[in-house]
């Protein structure tokens, strides 16, 4: 079995591997030598479990996410579908205006589906969205959590807002277009979420 590392982050590495004859992606949380094994093992198992639970719940909510094939808690490995497509980050700026609006709308609708089920992604940036077969697939729920709080939903969208500002600053309507999609699908009070976002910007705590 050959394994190639696609990306090495601070906490985990993303590898392409094979599972039951399929080409799959594995997220492997690596043991940290600086931590006590007691802390390290508990954290790795906890985070692996929480992340796979969120991915499953997101699917139930109707959001496109990689299919889960296997979860190894002690090993800290999530084996999932290899979604081959393009990162939204890499294509968004070059899209024609109307297509970009449409794509942002889908992104907003998907986030609303997550939030309707109180799923907070925790790191909604355009590098964590893959456009494949006309669908936007959300990846990396590693910083995610469940929350009914407006605050958490506001922070979640604020992360995206900042990602748009830093990476897609020459396309200033992206966030607005995304929020239009969000508003259509979100079952709670979208204006209250918007108010929260403004409050978070004012607070200036989040970068």
């Amino acid at each position: 079995m050959t394994t190639t590392v696609l990306y090495r982050g601070a906490e985990a590495e993303i590898c392409v591997s094979t599972h039951l004859g399929m080409e799959v992606v594995q997220k492997r949380r690596l043991p940290k030598l600086y931590r006590l094994p007691e802390i390290d093992q508990a954290l790795i198992a906890y985070r692996t479990r929480e992340e796979s639970k969120l991915i499953r719940e997101a699917r139930v909510a109707g959001v496109s996410v990689p299919l889960l094939y296997d979860v190894d808690l002690p090993g800290g490995v999530i084996t999932m579908e290899y979604v081959k497509g393009k990162r939204v980050k890499d294509i968004l700026n070059a899209l024609p205006e109307s297509e970009r609006k449409h794509l942002c709308g889908i992104v907003g609708q998907s986030i609303a589906l997550l939030h309707n089920h109180n799923i907070i992604h925790g790191d909604i940036t355009t590098s964590n969205m893959i456009l494949a077969n006309g669908r936007v697939t959300f990846i990396d729920f590693g910083l995610g959590m469940k929350s009914i709080e407006l605050e958490a939903k506001g922070v979640d969208l604020h992360v995206l807002m900042e990602a748009f500002e830093s990476t897609h600053s020459q396309r200033p309507t992206c966030f607005q277009d995304t929020f239009e999609g969000y508003r259509q699908v979100f079952t709670g009070d979208a204006d209250a979420v918007l108010g929260k976002i403004e409050e978070i910007v004012q607070r200036g705590r989040y970068r």
Binding site: G9, A10, E11, K32, L33, Y34, R35, L36, E38, I39, A42, L43, G122, D123, L143, G204, R207
Partner: protein
């Protein structure tokens, strides 16, 4: 060029002189005096009174130790914030008076950025680090990105030093409690689970402190509680530092602040750095804690890069954020 810096953000009042030798920071003197209350934490007014009592003598000492006449001082720098209002005002008032009487320019600097710059200034190979700044009040992971010093992770409630001090105060350990907790922790060998609280890139210590206090009331061994407290909080600090290094793709890590003296924290960060192929730097102890030399050095490089501060703009800022600083010298 020689700059005299005055530090006074919290419990330490300090004065130090530095000289710029081809971009390297030469510390000529670094004198300080720390207010330590008989009981409880820092009382801001008491601390300011302490500073006012000792500052004139410290400035004199700093100039004498530097072995220079007052007329050789080209610039006076002071800690403009963040910190306790009364302490900041005492240091700022002294700095203004000194600058006027010597007829040299005055410059106010950000205390957190000074902790980073003194590392870069005194350790030549430390050029572009991620700073883990751990002190009583501040716990921040700072790095230079897109033209500014940005905070990539920080505490959401209390500083790590404050967390250790509060725990120690319950035991009446006396300020500062960190070194005593460190020596208790060395006797510990059983880990007592404590909440590991990282939210994205930020950390929270207050819940964990409550849990540690609960263990103490349940008569768990003090050594094991101190051991668990250190292991948990330091692992959180190291994790956030590593995340910031991965995010910014930097290969150097610098420690600063009083808690940087802790050998277990150094070990952990060093292990993390080694695993990433990165290097760890720790300034000498007198430059890690709050000190006048680091204020002087930041003031000096800001001045050299063209920053000027008219007297009217020299008011203190208790909430001076790291990312508010306009970086003109990099």
């Amino acid at each position: 060029m020689i700059c005299l810096g005055i530090e006074g953000t919290a419990h330490t009042i300090g004065a130090g002189c530095v000289r710029d030798t081809h971009g390297h920071c030469e510390v000529l003197s670094n004198c300080m005096n720390t207010y330590s209350p008989a009981h409880g934490g820092i009382h801001p007014r008491e601390a300011a009174n302490h500073h006012a009592t000792h500052l004139a003598e410290l400035i004199h000492q700093a100039v004498q130790k530097a072995d220079i006449p007052y007329t050789d001082i080209d610039l006076v720098a002071f800690s403009q914030g963040p910190g306790l209002g009364p302490c900041l005002r005492t240091a700022a008032t002294a700095a203004r008076a000194l600058s006027l009487s010597l007829s040299v320019p005055l410059i106010g600097v950000n205390h957190c950025v000074a902790h980073l710059e003194i590392g870069r200034g005194t350790i030549p190979v430390c050029t572009d680090p991620v700073l883990l700044y751990v002190s009583g009040a501040n716990t921040q992971v700072i790095a230079f990105a897109e033209g500014k010093y940005r905070v990539f992770g920080e505490t959401l409630d209390i500083g790590i030093g404050n967390c250790l001090d509060k725990f120690g105060r319950m035991l009446d350990l006396g300020f500062p409690c960190g070194p005593k907790i460190e020596s208790f922790a060395k006797q510990g060998d059983r880990y007592l689970p404590l909440p590991y609280s990282i939210k994205g890139m930020d950390m929270a210590f207050s819940g964990l402190l409550t849990a540690a206090e609960a263990y103490y009331r349940k008569k768990e061994s003090l050594a094991n509680i101190c051991y668990s407290l250190q292991e948990t909080t330091f692992a959180m600090l190291t994790e956030v530092t590593e995340r910031a290094m991965a995010h910014t793709e930097k290969t150097q890590v610098l420690l600063g602040g009083g808690v940087a003296s802790n050998t277990r924290l150094r070990d952990m960060v060093s292990t993390m750095a080694k695993a990433r192929g990165a290097s760890l730097f720790v300034p000498t102890k007198d430059l890690c804690v709050d000190n006048g030399a680091m204020i002087a050095w930041l003031g000096l490089i800001m001045h050299a890069s063209g920053t000027r501060m008219p007297l009217e703009q020299s008011s203190i800022n208790q909430r001076f954020r790291t990312d508010m600083v306009e970086v003109t010298w990099r």
